[in-house]
Symmetry: C2
Subunit: 461 residues, 2 copies
């Protein structure tokens, strides 16, 4: 972090100087990923000056590393006569990311500026939704045919050597069909006789993903099979593009951020905006909805308490343990939900394993609940925090009530926490949506009902 601060000071200083050559020299020594960190921390006027001080080629290097909103501002600051030159330098997947983030009019103008060769490509890539394999793929990949010799293949690849992102995996496709037939590694070309045919050195592995598949499915395949570059195909098994390891890392990071946020009642999709740079109103937009909804449901809990008003005023010690019953349910329900959601998102089981999960969490819930009930029951009996009881009740009955209520509440909550996400998934909802906060709110209500019913019955009130 220290380094970013120092670089920022230097950039700020150089921005004040005439010309821009000192700034350019300084920036050339820094990796664009680090420049982008500095850029985000500049004031808007400085960002503008910085953008105007650099040649188009530097801007093209920087763009893929910037959050999309800043990238489109940078573009807007540069004269539109330069846009074509900038777009031409971008990899096609970075270009498509950028186009996707532009406002519709701006994006249409941008496509218009592309060279003909890229125009058709960008339009076809833009036709896939952003979060599908097709929306994330690059079309910079190398292909050869089985009938080629290694010499022909190398000649062929040499022409594209600089623009192809992925030369460690070269795909073999049918010359006429365009169908994916297998792959060769660059090493197979380098270390074999040049007269050998591709079909003799190729592997016929064709693990691939359909363009319409969810981006998460693509990453799961890459992670499961240790694949460096995953081919993306259409219904006819024709090779359309490739998802590379760096996209996989990015997708995985995005998906886990999304899971974490959903489990914390934050709605919407995380943008690539950095936390400190995201406006307050944007934060509120993503956080307020669930908070209001859950608050309204919490009124039900309150009405349950009101229902048992008399019981509570008679035996105030019951109120002392009320927050604990409620909290234990929320905590154990949340734990179970996290475990199950995670296992499902790693593809460990599908909703058909409902019964197995229920049986496992049933045992876990009863044991944790029983153990917790026992601990707290003993605490009440031997280390009571209050000794004021109404006539006719004694400490053992209170201890028994809390103990049984905790057991029942934890067992119920664990089961609800484990099964709600599975139900959500079989209803084709994202399981993470019904995670912790939603479960907590539901089991608050059941917990209070369990607790007060047991109290009425055991304490004869």
């Amino acid at each position: 972090m220290m380094e970013t601060v120092e670089r920022l000071d230097e950039i700020t200083k150089l921005l004040g100087q005439d010309g821009g050559s000192a700034l350019l020299d300084f920036v050339t020594e820094i990796h664009p990923a680090d420049i982008s960190l500095c850029f985000s921390k500049l004031e808007e006027a400085q960002q503008r000056a910085f953008t105007l001080a650099l040649p188009p080629q530097k801007i093209a290097e920087l763009l893929p590393y910037l959050p999309t909103s800043e990238a489109s501002e940078v573009l807007a600051w540069r004269p539109s006569s330069e846009h074509a030159a900038i777009f031409d330098q971008l990899n096609d997947d970075d270009l498509v990311d950028l186009l996707q983030s532009l406002k519709i009019g701006q994006s249409r103008a941008a496509i218009h500026l592309l060279p003909e060769s890229k125009k058709a490509l960008a339009q076809s890539l833009l036709s896939y939704p952003e979060d599908t394999a097709g929306g994330r793929m690059t079309t910079n990949f190398a292909t050869v045919y089985p009938e080629m010799t290694i010499r022909e293949a190398i000649e062929n690849l040499r022409e594209n050597a600089e623009i192809t992102e992925v030369l460690a995996r070269i795909f073999v496709v049918g010359k006429d069909t365009g169908k994916l037939l297998g792959k060769v590694r660059l090493r197979d070309l380098t270390f074999n006789r040049r007269s050998t045919h591709i079909r003799d050195v190729m592997s016929d592995e064709t693990i691939s993903v359909r363009a319409g598949a969810d981006q998460e499915a693509a990453v799961m395949m890459m992670s499961k099979y240790n694949i460096f570059a995953l081919p993306v195909t259409n219904q006819k098994s024709q090779l359309l593009g490739v998802i590379t390891y760096d996209d996989a890392l990015e997708i995985q990071e995005e998906e886990s951020t999304e899971d974490l946020e959903k489990q914390s009642a934050i709605s919407g999709t995380p943008s690539d905006e950095r936390y400190l740079e995201t406006p307050v109103l944007e934060h509120i937009k993503r956080r307020f909805g669930w908070v209001l909804f859950l608050a309204l449901i919490a009124i039900v809990s309150g009405l349950v308490i009101k229902q048992y008003e008399e019981l509570i005023t008679q035996t105030i010690v019951l109120a002392v343990y009320m927050p604990m019953i409620v909290a234990a349910g929320g905590n154990t329900g949340g734990q179970a939900a996290t475990m199950v959601i995670r296992a499902m998102s790693l593809g460990e089981f599908s909703p058909s394993s409902f019964a197995k999960v229920a049986w496992k969490e049933c045992r876990v819930g009863i044991l944790i609940g029983g153990l917790l009930g026992l601990c707290i029951g003993l605490q009440i009996h031997f280390l009571p925090v209050t000794t004021e009881f109404p006539e006719g009740t004694n400490v053992s009955n209170i201890a028994l009530t809390v103990c049984l209520a905790l057991t029942a509440q934890v067992a119920t909550s664990t089961l609800v926490g484990a099964l709600l996400p599975i139900l959500a998934k079989s209803a084709r909802l994202d399981p993470a949506v019904v995670a912790s906060p939603a479960i907590t709110t539901v089991v608050d209500i059941t917990g209070l009902i369990i607790y007060f019913s047991l109290a009425k019955w055991i304490l004869h009130l």
Copy 2:
């Protein structure tokens, strides 16, 4: 998922047949990652029969994909005379993973069985903690010297072509010093004249990570700079090993599971055991600790309620809104914590940005709290759920109390939720430990105090 079930049926059927050749034929057609999924679902006796039916080479292919506990069982079932042959087939990072998971005695015996060349290597790799860059690296990498010609380099690499995992990046090291000087791509060798020197085609990029660094730091670098294979060096900048993209994906997945679990009050490190295969007692061990601790703290909330006993019995409508005040605090605190923890783990800011985060969350908290207070205040005023008030109070005062309490509670909780993780981080604790459940429990207490104090003051009770 359907496929796993079908494969499982077929394997179960083939296990019953004589010999094992039909089974071997079947298994040879399946990717080891898929075999491992089937294997985990077999009964123990079937797993044993399966293990004994395959040749050592197949076992070696399967081992890296199995959860470590199953892998060590498989090893135990095979005669120890075969272990050397199996170990010899494993990549060194997979071998070290396996050795790390064995019980100490078993692991010592295993190292004893290694060929001399691997013994020293395994011992040195085992000396790095499992979650550091050194503990995750592989030593199967290719190096060349700047003085070599491309022809010499290719000759040199050809000998190692099959055992080096990473030929897409070949590292250039000093001939005498072993220091990392840069890298060349296989394409630079393939597409240049064979008499060219390595120093003329190499790039002098030496982005690398120290062996003792956290594995998460390594992945962050790989993701930030789009690095496919990250060199791991010692203090003297000598090249020790490489972390490859597939390890990066695995580490990132592990770390995000760990974050999710910590934020759900699940302690310990997630094992690579699959959810359904993890014993119930193992689940309880990881979940019970926090549940008990948080339950004990919840007694404090209960005592606060008891403190305001009289107030509640006088104005039972206050009890109706009590769960909402409490829940809103937990939810908004959890949201803020998730946002801040995520931003910190992406390296967006360090604890030194304390003031900036506090200022941002202060505004977010007051706005969300105020908005929520307004909504609920209006609800109470115009759509009251109860009309029983004690003498002297009226619905506007109740609405005002709840509105102000919600604002104050949400603002406090948001601030606590955002700042506790930062404090934890500056105290060198993992910020995720103080996430949602811990924050919820703390703000439950503050929320009740805020609510009842305001009620006393506004309602003059």
